[in-house]
């Protein structure tokens, strides 16, 4: 049965959608403001033990011996786990490319500061931490590998000896005739960039409670898991269990932004449970552990990039050479962040040819993982900075240079050189709107006036494309396999006509339960509060991926609509049978199944569902008494990658242009954001406040990456950032309150026309802020190409200007 999913809100079976596209109060909020939401550390199970993990103080060392006798003897300690145990019971993390993962506790050697070397389960966390102090570990310290440059030197110590080298992957992609466009260019604008490591840092760290059932060797994990099925499968592989013997129960999460779901923490808690005879074991990562070894450090990058530009401002080519410091292996799936830029390599522009030269390197920094945007934010910082440098070279206004190169509305669907297809867009309309909203000309005039007074004022105008609704094929280049990312939902009416929507993930902050409820409520003509959204554990829920890749809002919409369409067809059969007509004579409208020819005659949802569950004698012969349906959605039309990684990967392409005005303080190098404007186009906005919240939140993270946040390591690969005193999260004082507006170009390929928008402004903000700073510095003839553009770095740049 082919299911036709409504392509626009107007196609929903209601005279007028009451919730989709409206400002609604979120269904998840009452529990969250009451403090009753069950974040994982609020759950306690009978007999539960508490885990604490001993971590390596050395970036690179051989573990010669671990003496746990004193810890085991401490009253209140039930189990101590070491490398010996994990070698016996588990496997190294599965990675892509394969073979760059470690065991959950160091076996033989440690490769980064913070790597677990032993763990304790005790009656409470205080005692567990006491016990850590009693464990003696003997290390044979090895020479550290602090940077890719050291890692790639011929005599470098090798992190993973069996790999023989620290280079994880080295690959060059050529798309189109790159050499020709660069040879024929009137200008080649080239520069180097350094993006320092940043990270997700949700306010809630990772946590879990794991229980090993010793009766049948199965495992249950409650916890803060953002992609529960993915983690369940990975745990089964790591812990030598059949995949149907691992059950993950996802709890509401205090944010995620990519890194939620600690695999090492889970495996350690699981094995401690096994070792303690099946007691539940809780592990709550603390902030220092998160900052040392958590699962969200991202993008430690060295770029050398160039644009080929014609005299009239037409950009014809882009070359990007990237050396990516992955840290100590690829257990965090940081490799994906190098692959993902293929989905939007040339941004918002018609650039005919491109080259991507990538080297992924292992060092003794913590392994990198996913963080909101998962790769493109630094890539766009490079591309957009080059666009500004080209504009300066040509003496063109940066907004006009961009306008000249935009993909035009009539060119969609548009295939970019790196292979992905953008579904739709109207980049010029977005630009015009933000230029008008910001009074761009007025900003430039003020800038000229203030500059004349000696102030360093800069304006950034930056356009990007946000790839939305990821597919695995986007990451094929780093060894990830598969096409299709199933997301399922079940819609189920009970005997009294009340509706439950069952999904396979839990809350993380983006309001997806509300989106599911909005869509279901409008489809079935119910009040929003009448729809119950329930999260199912992995063993009973529908196939699901959960949050990730700017996808879930679109995917869950598709799943709820698909399931609803299926169920509607069944309901039509029931009603047709009762009314002695054919199903095609019955329609659903505003919550009633009615006769098309005589809309006065019909049945309520409760009547249909109640009949199905309570009067089987009235049903069509052979019909199942089941007023429920499940639909699993995935994007259609995704393709196999070719040898250059080209494929149709991300389904939707949202677009945004930001205008920002900054002032740089000459004496201190401090940057103040004076004004910030955003216009974006993510197609149909399913929930206005959700989209706005994602934008503003991602803007804050973008400001953090551009100006404040950095995981600093010293020359010996020792992390210098271990608290929020050192890792500078933007506060209410640092985040600009952006003026926002939007354009709506519905996606022709996604349910209800909505595009992925969850990662949002982090694609654009770092580039916009850095471009603005460099616009401010331009009269001095210096520029900064390293993030974060901290006061110290900018001050050093200003000194260079003075030194002339």
């Amino acid at each position: 049965m082919a299911i036709k999913i409504p392509a626009l809100p107007e196609q929903l079976p209601t005279a007028q959608p009451r919730f989709v596209g409206r400002e609604v109060q979120r269904v998840e909020d009452p529990g969250l403001v009451s403090g009753t939401a069950e974040f994982i550390d609020n759950l306690a199970l009978p007999g539960m033990l508490h885990c604490a993990i001993l971590r390596s103080p050395h970036p690179h060392a051989r573990v010669v011996g671990v003496d746990t006798r004193a810890a085991e003897a401490l009253p209140g300690v039930l189990a101590v786990l070491t490398g010996e145990d994990v070698r016996r019971w588990s496997n190294p993390a599965y990675t892509a490319p394969e073979g760059w993962g470690a065991y959950c506790i160091a076996v033989d050697k440690v490769r980064f500061v913070g790597e677990p070397v032993a763990a304790v389960a005790a009656v409470n966390r205080y005692v567990a931490e006491d016990a850590l102090e009693l464990i003696r570990v003997d290390y044979d310290v090895l020479k550290p590998v602090p940077t890719p440059a050291v890692a790639m030197a011929p005599d470098a110590p090798v992190l993973f000896e069996e790999r023989g080298s620290n280079v994880i992957q080295s690959r060059v992609y050529n798309w189109g005739d790159v050499d020709r466009v660069f040879a024929e260019a009137d200008h080649v604008v080239q520069n180097t960039f350094r993006w320092n490591r940043v990270g997700a840092n949700p306010t809630e760290t990772f946590g879990c409670i794991c229980q090993w059932d010793i009766s049948d060797d199965s495992l249950t994990c409650h916890g803060a898991y953002q992609t529960p099925r993915f983690w369940a499968m990975a745990r089964a592989l790591a812990l030598n269990l059949p995949t149907n013997k691992v059950r993950v129960i996802p709890h509401p999460m205090g944010g995620g932004f990519g890194g939620k779901g600690g695999p090492r923490g889970t495996d350690i808690a699981a094995l401690l449970s096994r070792k303690s005879g099946g007691r539940p074991v809780k592990y709550i990562e603390d902030r220092m552990e998160y900052l040392l070894a958590g699962f969200g450090q991202s993008w430690d990058r060295y770029y050398d990039a160039a644009l080929a530009v014609k005299a009239d401002g037409t950009v014809t080519g882009l070359k990007v050479k990237l050396i990516d410091d992955q840290g100590a292996g690829t257990e965090g799936w940081g490799t994906i962040s190098v692959a993902k830029p293929l989905a939007a390599f040339t941004g918002a522009y018609r650039i005919e040819a491109a080259q991507y030269d990538t080297v992924l390197v292992a060092t003794n920094r913590a392994p990198t993982g996913p963080y909101r945007g998962y790769g493109p934010p630094p890539h766009f910082l490079v591309l957009e900075s080059l666009m500004d440098m080209a504009a300066r070279r040509l003496g063109m206004d940066p907004a006009e240079l961009r306008r000249r190169n935009y993909i035009r509305p009539d060119q969609f669907p548009y295939t970019i050189p790196s292979g992905n297809e953008y579904d739709s867009g109207n980049y010029e309309a977005v630009l015009d709107k933000v230029l008008a909203m910001s009074d761009y000309r007025g900003l430039r005039e003020s800038q000229a006036r203030w500059r004349a007074d000696g102030r360093l004022i800069g304006i950034g105008v930056v356009s990007t494309v946000e790839p939305g609704v990821f597919d695995w094929n986007a990451y094929a280049t780093v060894g990830v396999q598969g096409i299709g990312v199933p997301e399922g939902a079940k819609v189920a009416f009970d005997m009294l006509g009340n509706l439950t929507v069952v999904v396979g993930f839990n809350l993380q902050g983006q309001g997806q339960f509300t989106v599911a409820a909005q869509v279901a409520a409008d489809y079935w003509g119910l009040d929003l509060g009448a729809v119950k959204v329930a999260s199912a554990p992995t063993d009973i829920g529908p196939p699901s991926f959960g949050q990730g890749g700017s996808r879930l809002g679109v995917a869950i919409t598709g799943a709820v609509l698909g399931a609803s369409e299926k169920l509607k067809a069944i309901f039509c059969q029931v009603v047709a049978h009762l009314m002695q007509t054919t199903p095609d004579q019955v329609e659903l409208m505003d919550g009633r199944l009615r006769l098309k020819a005589n809309p006065q005659v019909g049945m309520s949802l409760a009547e249909v569902a109640g009949t199905m569950l309570g009067r089987s004698d009235l049903l069509p012969p052979g019909m199942e008494p089941c007023p429920e349906a499940t639909f699993v959605w995935t994007a259609e039309g995704r393709t196999m990658p070719d040898d250059q990684g080209r494929c149709r990967s991300y389904l939707t392409a949202a677009n945004a242009t930001h205008v920002v005005m900054v002032e740089v303080d000459r004496d201190t190098g401090r940057t103040d954001i004076l004004k910030y404007f955003i216009v974006d186009d993510c197609g149909t906005r399913l929930n206005l406040a959700n989209v706005e919240g994602q934008l503003q939140g991602a803007l804050a993270q973008g400001v953090g990456a551009a100006l404040y946040e950095e995981y600093v390591y010293n020359d010996e690969a020792q992390p210098l950032v271990t608290t929020f005193v050192d890792y500078l999260m933007p506060t209410i004082h640092e985040v600009p309150m952006a003026t926002k507006d939007f354009v709506v170009t519905p996606s022709p390929v996604a349910p209800l026309g909505a595009k992925g928008c969850g990662e949002g402004a982090i694609h654009t903000t770092p580039a916009a802020v850095l471009c603005a700073i460099n616009d401010a510095l331009a009269p001095l003839g210096v520029e900064i190409t390293e993030t974060p553009a901290s006061p110290h770095r900018v001050w050093k740049t200003l000194r260079r200007a003075r030194a002339g």
Binding site: V33, T203, G254, R287, G693, Q696, G697, F724
Partner: protein, 166 residues
């Protein structure tokens, strides 16, 4: 480091007296969360920076991760669980305002923001945006970008003023 001897304390939380024997090293946050099962006070850093764990001690905002339970002996502590109207079950105007003005996403930081807001609005019924920022400058939120939080506090202030008038 050996097991320390326990100490008797009496803390009134949201109007209810609790007498307990606790280890001196037990933080107030852990006491509230794990001894009293008041899980609404969350913990984000345990080193005093994020403000997620904010509660009121004798009406003043405090970081319950830095305070020891024994230090709150004899004090009145207010947590997010104390905000709802106990008789009607209605949300407190601050909670209601955070819902209506979308002042939360994941909601993990929200109890801390609301407790800080409770203190602010007790002292200043009509705070300017600057005063709101000043008061909330010690609370981190990773989700919202703060704009909707400021709007929530403004709305809460307005609601509380209206409530007073009627």
């Amino acid at each position: 480091m050996a097991m320390s001897t326990k100490q008797g304390i009496c803390i009134t939380v949201n109007g209810v007296r609790h007498e307990r024997e606790v280890e001196p090293r037990l933080t107030l946050a852990d006491f509230l969360r794990h001894e009293l099962a008041l899980g609404g006070t969350h913990v984000g850093c345990e080193h005093g920076i994020c403000g997620v764990c904010t509660v009121l001690i004798d009406g003043r905002s405090a970081r319950s991760c830095l305070a020891l339970a024994v230090q709150a002996d004899g004090c009145q502590v207010t947590t997010v669980e104390g905000l709802r109207d106990r008789t009607t079950g209605h949300l407190h105007p601050i909670q209601q305002a955070f819902v209506e003005a979308h002042g939360l996403q994941c909601g993990f930081c929200t109890p801390g923001f609301m407790m800080t807001t409770l203190e602010l609005l007790a002292e200043n019924a009509e705070p300017s945006d600057e005063a709101i920022k000043e008061a909330l400058g010690g609370n981190l939120c990773r989700c919202t970008g703060y704009e909707s939080i400021i709007a929530s506090v403004r709305l809460a202030a307005q609601r509380l003023r209206e409530q007073k008038r009627t």
